[in-house]
């Protein structure tokens, strides 16, 4: 039941049609090369209890076998079992053939956001998202990543950011924001610095902010300025996103994250601060060291950790009365469940808004909004993505909130679409935007 809106002359479809035994052998070899102790443990530990099923927002909307996380896990482990021994039929071993590849693409790319809510709730503790990503890695090595997702990765590789924003446009945006910041904070010296050598912080952001949400850049700049922070952007590599996390390409993933780390080193910056981007945080903070096989010699933090420190240290003061509408918080999967940034957003919002209400469930158990895993770029699955987003829409509606805060731009895009489709009537904002609106007092000395 593939939802495929691709045009007939699709290179991707051609590539699929041309799959031969040599290509499949390569795919099998990639699967073996990606296998590890953890993968083997997970393959042997799953008892097919199916209790992971309704942890998945896809299953809650479409309770078919393809929506069961354990089924998606089985798709990967069965192929591996078949490769290891042809006589494992009792365990459901399955050949990697053209039909399996089709199902892999549909299930591993089209029905999963890698949010790992299933893994958190698995009876046995299987990291299902990690296993799904192994499957995606096999497809990536076989050049079978859905082209819309692959083009996002390619744009980042070739242009330095995933939206192919030119340097001129970047500089123009910064120029314009300099004026806005000076007006906002009443300081003609205030600016958004570029390539400031020896700064304390290198700040990386989602290019969507540059292109569509410059006011969220302004919000962060206002916070840094008020806190008296010695910070900088990079002229060249400022993109916090890393879609290779979603495509399954570790080599490209490592390369994209290492650009940020290298830039920090070159500028003599001690701390790389990652903007409000769930997957970007997970990729660079947790996965890149593994992909690169080395521990970074700089500190890597989320902007939420930094802002919480500012509040605790008194470097910025917030008046919650300036944010009087009811606010709820969406927990981005890769930032919270898979990233460990759980309480920081709450601490910040409790200091900066007067009516904060939690979603139920929340924190690690919060439902995925449906925007992760590369779903936003894979337009062929858009209908399915928005249908599965109903779970999140219902969660938001139940809070009665007027503002949904999401410290992740992929989540913001998805939530904005859900807001429109499900007529939620909410504003969708970042944490930094809420903080900037509540800042009182003059810059810290």
């Amino acid at each position: 039941m593939t939802e495929n809106n691709a045009c007939p002359i699709d290179a991707f479809q051609q590539r699929l049609a041309q799959l031969d035994e040599t290509a499949l052998d390569q795919a099998r070899a990639t699967l073996v090369s990606k296998w590890s102790y953890a993968a083997e443990v997970y393959a042997r530990a799953c008892v097919h209890c199916g209790l992971c099923s309704d942890s998945c927002h896809y299953f809650l909307i479409d309770p078919s076998k393809e929506s069961v996380p354990a089924y998606r896990l089985k798709l990967v482990t069965d192929v591996f079992a078949c490769h290891q021994s042809k006589s494992r039929k009792i365990s459901g071993a399955r050949e990697l053939d053209r039909n399996t590849v089709d199902e892999w693409i549909d299930c591993l790319f089209g029905r999963c956001t890698l949010c790992n809510r299933c893994g958190l709730n698995c009876s046995v503790g299987i990291n299902i998202a990690q296993m799904i990503r192994i499957g995606r890695s096999v497809l990536a090595a076989s050049r079978l990543v859905p082209p819309e997702l692959q083009s996002t990765v390619d744009a980042a590789v070739n242009t330095g950011n995933n939206m192919a924003i030119s340097r001129e446009e970047w500089f123009e945006t910064i120029d314009w924001l300099n004026g806005e910041l000076q007006q906002e904070v009443g300081d003609p010296q205030a600016c958004l610095p570029l390539d400031r050598a020896g700064a304390t912080i290198l700040y990386a952001v989602n290019p969507r902010e540059v292109k569509f949400f410059p006011l969220s850049l302004l919000a962060a700049a206002k916070i840094f300025h008020t806190a008296g922070e010695n910070w900088t952007f990079s002229k060249e590599y400022y993109d916090v996103t890393n879609y290779a996390l979603f495509s399954g390409d570790d080599t490209i993933g490592g390369m994209l994250s290492s650009r940020l780390i290298e830039t920090a080193r070159k500028l003599g910056v001690r701390t790389l601060v990652l903007g409000e981007c769930g997957h970007g945080f997970k990729a660079t903070r947790w996965d890149a060291p593994e992909w690169l096989g080395q521990t970074p010699d700089i500190e890597i933090k989320s902007v939420l950790e930094v802002v919480e420190d500012y509040i605790r240290q008194g470097r910025i003061r917030l008046d919650p009365r300036l944010n009087s509408k009811r606010v709820t918080l969406h927990d981005p999967c890769n930032l919270v469940r898979n990233g460990g940034i759980v309480e920081q957003s709450r601490a910040i919002l409790k200091a900066g808004v007067s009516d904060f209400v939690e979603m139920i469930p929340n924190r690690l158990q919060n439902y995925c909004c449906g925007g992760g895993g590369g779903q936003l770029s894979m337009t062929r699955y858009a209908k399915r993505r928005l249908a599965a987003g109903k779970v999140k829409a219902d969660q938001i509606a139940a809070t009665g909130a007027k503002i949904v805060v999401a410290p992740c731009h992929n989540c913001i895009d998805q939530l904005s679409e859900l807001n429109r489709d499900y007529k939620l009537g909410v504003e969708v904002k970042t944490v930094c935007e809420m903080v900037a609106d509540a800042i009182v007092g003059t810059p810290a000395s």
Binding site: W35, S36, Y37, A38, A39, E40, V41, Y42, R44, A45, C46, V47, H48, C49, G50, L51, S53, D54, S55, P63, S64, K65, V68, A70, Y71, K74, K89, I90, S91, G92, G119, L120, N121, C122, S123, V124, G125, I126, N127, R285, W286, D287, A288, P289, E290, T295, I300, R337, N338, G339, G340, V342, E343, E358, I360, P361, N362, R363, L364, Q365
Partner: protein, 209 residues
């Protein structure tokens, strides 16, 4: 020790040996070193993973499926009861009547739960779709093991019980029952993943639906 008893012990040793081999073969695939700087308290995460983290209020898969969770717990307790009965039969222990009664009650409850899980797997569409022959074979073997444990406790019949035990032990390393070993490996990895990130143990209790 007579031949049937010796064969049971040997089959149990065989299961343990093959599981150990499986474990070391699994490790040969490579334990990935952790390069990311760890935050949080991994040791506390480990304790949490094997204690509070297993409880229904920590795991939605349990809280949303409380009957299945309870059935699963009873089923596994009955497996323990059957193993205790087997040890008593092998080493000719005389069990106190109260313990016998407890074992019998657990075995019958476990058997009912085991059959319930079997039926559930047959009738629930998505569960049937993710099931493989192994799921049914393993369930039936364990149920058979429990039945014969109960018969042994009631009527003292040992031979059939020993044969069932031998077949079960021989099957364990090659089917899903090997999760009796790999469950612990998986939970350890779970504790590492969330513990290194400082995501578990939770600073605050998560609110569920």
């Amino acid at each position: 020790m007579d031949l049937p008893r010796l064969l049971v012990v040997l089959s149990a040793a065989f299961a343990l040996l093959v599981l150990t081999i499986h474990y070391f073969r699994a490790r040969r695939w490579g334990v990935k070193p952790v390069y990311a700087k760890i935050q949080g308290t991994p040791r506390q995460a480990l304790i949490y993973t094997f204690t509070a983290g297993m409880m229904p209020w920590s795991k939605e898969s349990a809280s949303k499926h409380l009957p299945t969770f309870i059935v699963g717990i009873i089923f596994h307790l009955a497996v323990v009861a059957a193993v205790v009965t087997l040890l008593a039969a092998i080493f000719v222990w005389t069990l106190p009547s109260l313990l016998k009664s407890v074992l019998l009650a657990t075995l019958f409850a476990g058997l009912a739960c085991g059959l319930g899980l079997f039926v559930k797997r047959m009738v629930v569409g998505y569960l049937r779709a993710i099931s493989v022959p192994d799921d049914f074979v393993a369930n039936l073997l364990v149920n058979l093991f429990m039945i014969n444990a109960a018969v042994n406790l009631i009527a003292g019949v040992s031979t059939v019980f020993f044969v069932t035990a031998i077949v079960l032990f021989a099957y364990i390393p090659f089917g899903k029952i090997r999760h009796c070993w790999f469950f612990f490996c998986s939970r350890l990895l779970f504790a590492e993943f969330y513990g290194y990130r400082g995501a578990l143990p939770p600073a605050q209790q998560v609110h569920h639906d």
